[in-house]
Assembly symmetry: C2
Homo-oligomer: 125 residues x 2
């Protein structure tokens, strides 16, 4: 038993681990979940609205993150020929498939907050 058969279960999980890496790469950065969470609730928003709504973000970051997500087909960018030109962003149907992830993350975060008040939950279960 010199050489470790480092993994027995490995073959099964490789796919899973790769999948996790893929997803997290697409959703990387400080703001994507935040932007998506916001956009998923309103369905369509203009750039300046997002800038105001996603608190703390600057225009550079917002612009960059939206571009990333557009490239990955998660959101669409539509220019509207209004008086001062406006641009609306919306989550694609494909982007909406991220809904369950965001939901789980939000759910966990909420119960995390609760557990801060009654830390016993975190200790024992």
């Amino acid at each position: 038993m010199k050489k470790k058969l480092s993994v027995n279960h490995s073959e099964i999980c490789k796919t899973r681990i790769t999948a996790i890496k893929d997803t997290m790469e697409i959703l990387s950065g400080k703001w994507k979940f935040h932007i998506l969470g916001t956009l998923l609730e309103t369905d369509r928003m203009r750039f300046m609205d997002l800038l105001r709504e996603v608190e703390g973000i600057g225009s550079k970051m917002l612009s960059k993150e939206l571009q990333d997500m557009e490239i990955n087909h998660l959101v669409t960018r539509t220019v509207q020929q209004t008086k001062p030109i406006t641009v609306v962003y919306e989550v694609t149907e494909y982007g909406k498939t991220l809904g369950p992830i965001i939901d789980e993350i939000a759910k966990w975060g909420i119960s995390y907050r609760s557990s801060l008040h009654s830390p016993r939950d975190r200790e024992t279960a």
Copy 2:
């Protein structure tokens, strides 16, 4: 209508957005999902096994990420008085509540891979 009532739905989502930020802060960094994904499948692993299993990670990062997660009660560290001292890490019951998130992320990543082969799915739905 001079002043934008920037948000109407805001109050409801604030909690949600905060929850998303909380969760993502705890799971920040390049490796936590990866480590957790690995650890959730095996239940207990030694440091060197993780180092081998989580491909690409170095000992510095592994050590730091494990410490972060220990602080947040997601994993436990147990020293075992074996011949050369060994240390086992395992996901706590509390850490296991992250399971659904990891599952959704893995699920999405897997179907993302598929959609790369038939990109039509990503375009139309």
